[in-house]
């Protein structure tokens, strides 16, 4: 559930970019930061601490401004994709309002996508959430690699693998080039804010 301060009329929305390691989650945030940092007037931060557990994630907060009397603050997070960082992923998912699942379109990463999706479902379950109720969208990243002759999974196959059960909005994308990075972001923000609003009413 989003952090909502009814007195000061602030809604804080947490969106997490999730997916297999090296799939392009951070590249999404880097593109958004690089392209719009002056307009969103924010800094991208990599949070990292060591101690009895490892935390490592990227964090990009920004304000959308006042919409219908509410100031809406968005927080974008990425999680580390490597298997060993599951504790961090679960921790970052705490209080999540919306998710962008960044799948890697490279043919060799097909299995990794499925593992990451399963891992997402497991971690959401620990917060009593699931992919049927939470707002989420899918991004099929690295589509541009086809131009370099690298074997890429076609969108139909990716849809069958990942989205057959859920029928969520999905975007073929290239985070490196910025293709559909913004479309993905706008969609998840719209869906998440609409969902929060529905919960409020």
């Amino acid at each position: 559930m989003a952090f909502i301060n009814l007195k000061s009329k602030i809604i804080q929305v947490k969106i997490v970019y999730y997916g297999p390691g090296r799939g392009g989650k951070t590249t999404n945030l880097e593109y958004i930061y690089r392209k719009f940092h002056q307009r969103i007037n924010s800094e991208m931060v990599t949070v990292k601490t060591h101690g009895d557990r490892t935390l490592f994630f990227d964090f990009l907060p920004f304000d959308i401004g006042v919409i219908n009397g509410y100031q809406i603050k968005i927080q974008l997070y990425t999680v580390p994709g490597q298997v060993k960082y599951n504790a961090t992923r679960r921790l970052v998912l705490r209080g999540v309002d919306g998710i962008v699942f960044v799948a890697d379109a490279m043919a060799v990463r097909r299995e990794k996508n499925l593992q990451a999706l399963k891992n997402l479902q497991e971690n959401l379950a620990s917060y009593k959430k699931n992919l049927h109720t939470i707002p989420w969208v899918i991004q099929y990243n690295k589509m541009d690699l086809a131009d370099q002759g690298i074997p890429i999974l076609d969108v139909e196959l990716l849809e069958r693998d990942i989205n057959r059960e859920f029928k969520r909005p999905a975007f073929p994308a290239s985070a490196v080039k910025g293709t559909n990075v913004v479309a993905t972001l706008k969609k998840i923000i719209s869906m998440t804010v609409a969902s929060i609003r529905k919960e409020l009413l």
């Binding site: 690089r34 392209k35 060591h50």
Partner: protein, 213 residues
């Protein structure tokens, strides 16, 4: 989940605001604002340290060595920083040579050494005594790590006598001579000597830096 397909005043206002914020009419991404991290001579090394912590790749380790070398040239006149870089370089070499067998404390030490170095570099007016104190603390942690690594390596052949016998019973390795206990002992001694020499060199550098400050 909310049905976002029906337009309403809020979603229309939100969509308009998002269109305005994320308008993609610029031909190319603008350069990030010049911040502290971007202007620091360590910014590149910082990225590499973070990426090594995330995933150890040969590319990251090569970049790490290159950056340490470049920074050594950049800070030739600063003995304290040179000692820090020497320690980072040694840790990088150790990670590269050991990969999956790296002692788990290595990354804690690597991150700590880098954090102190970053602190020193970003605080040009830091008192010499404080610099020395920070260096000494990191040197102690580094030496402790080296001791742990030596202990672990020394314990490995002793802990596997059965494996040694088993190896001797097999045909010689295709590369040439079979590995004998004497050869192993020699290699361990050589490694210890190498570590001792490296620590001596670092101590000399630290002392020299302390005298200079």
């Amino acid at each position: 989940m909310a049905d976002s397909s029906k337009p309403d005043p809020l979603s229309t206002a939100l969509d308009n605001r998002l269109d305005e914020l994320f308008r993609e009419d610029d031909p190319a991404p603008a350069a990030p604002a010049a911040g502290k991290a971007k202007t620091s001579p360590l910014s590149e090394l910082k990225k590499i340290v973070l990426s090594i912590d995330w995933e150890i790749t040969p590319e990251a380790l090569d970049s790490f060595s290159d950056q340490v070398r470049l920074l050594k040239e950049h800070y030739q006149g600063d003995k304290v920083i040179l000692v820090f870089l020497q320690v980072l370089g040694s840790l990088g070499q150790y990670i590269k040579s050991s990969r999956s067998k790296v002692h788990p404390s290595t990354f804690t030490v690597l991150n700590s050494v880098f954090a102190r170095l970053d602190e020193i570099v970003s605080t040009p007016k830091m008192a010499p005594a404080v610099r020395r104190k920070l260096l000494q603390a990191e040197m102690d942690a580094y030496q402790e790590l080296r001791a742990k690594i030596s202990q672990r390596r020394a314990a490995e052949p002793a802990a596997k006598p059965a494996a040694a016998i088993d190896t001797a019973a097999r045909p010689p390795a295709p590369a040439g001579r079979p590995v004998t206990p004497e050869m192993l002992a020699g290699a361990v001694a050589e490694l210890k000597e190498f570590i001792r020499a490296e620590l001596d060199a670092l101590r000399q550098l630290a002392k020299s830096a302390a005298r200079r400050d």
